[in-house]
Symmetry: C2
Subunit: 149 residues, 2 copies
DNA sequence: ATAAACCCTTGAGCTAACTCCAGAGTCAAG
DNA sequence: CTTGACTCTGGAGTTAGCTCAAGGGTTTAT
């Protein structure tokens, strides 16, 4: 199986496969006489493994670590694998938390602004960014009666 | 006010300030005879604006757009500002969604594995990544009686 | 035999937001 | 007047995960 056949099956680019090889993730098990990469069924499955791990958020570095386990299963324990998964879960939970903090801060800014067709000279979003005063919920101004804007 | 004074007030590095200048975010309003950057009170406030916008998740590019409005408030409307905020909220919501999908997929993998001190040869996490079969909740194996691992 | 389609290697470029470095000039205190 | 802290410019390097381009060699179909 040549590289072109492989990528068609998995919907990735040729460059990506060669990049994964440089990253020590997937090395073709043989080469043709002319130097073409030849992939076995096992190679094909290894790529599936990589792509599935990617699809749940693992980085290539982390996938490399998972593959080390996969390559030598008997020398590792369930706890090793589960630890990797839980560590990733923690990482992702942290990222989600930060984004949620952003989201809530933005929602407060959003609430405070009438969003009308009215000069931004006194927009409370800009004011909040200038002065850093947290925009309190009770400072919200109803749409039809925006005093500031 | 020289660059060192400015960074002490805001807790950013000198390089960051010069980088922001290259990015057209913050240009010192004057230079000393020897060529030192001199920042006015307005410059100082502008940096506050930038850092607050950053703290709610805006990219430097987006901050540049916000500053265009800030610099010419009378030519813009509340709706322009609110649109930027809402657009960012949408972006962040999308990022959160993707991370949550990752998280849920990982949680399923996590559930399926006993995490014990037992060979990984039949770890259901690895199996799932190899075969891509979604790990069903009922396949979960209680900790004390992990048949596979 | 020849043309199209495929593949090879090497190395550079991309995005974002810095960070660091070399080599030189400026400023303030003692 | 010298020392040390500060600042300047220009350019390169960082991380992650690709993506592209140049200049060739290989395969396969007609
Ligand atoms: Zn407004
Ligand atoms: Zn308003
Ligand atoms: Zn397991
Ligand atoms: Zn188990």
């Amino acid at each position: 199986m040549k590289i072109g056949d492989l990528v068609k099956q998995h919907g990735v680019s040729v460059d990506t496969i060669r990049f994964y090889e440089k990253q020590q993730l997937l090395t073709p098990s043989a080469r043709s006489e002319g130097g073409y990469r030849l992939y076995s069924h096992a190679d094909n499955q290894r790529l599936s493994f990589i792509l599935r791990a990617k699809s749940v958020g693992f980085s290539l570095q982390q996938i490399r670590e998972l593959l080390q386990i996969e390559d030598n299963k008997s020398q590792w324990q369930c706890s090793d694998v589960k630890d990797k998964v839980q560590h990733k879960m923690t990482e992702i939970a942290e990222q989600i938390s930060e984004l949620q903090r952003f989201y809530q801060a933005l929602a407060q800014l959003d609430q405070a602004c009438c969003g009308g067709s009215v000069s931004a000279t006194e927009c409370s979003i800009l004011t909040a960014l200038e002065q850093g005063q947290p925009v309190l919920a009770e400072q919200h101004i109803p749409k039809q009666e925006c005093a500031k804007c």
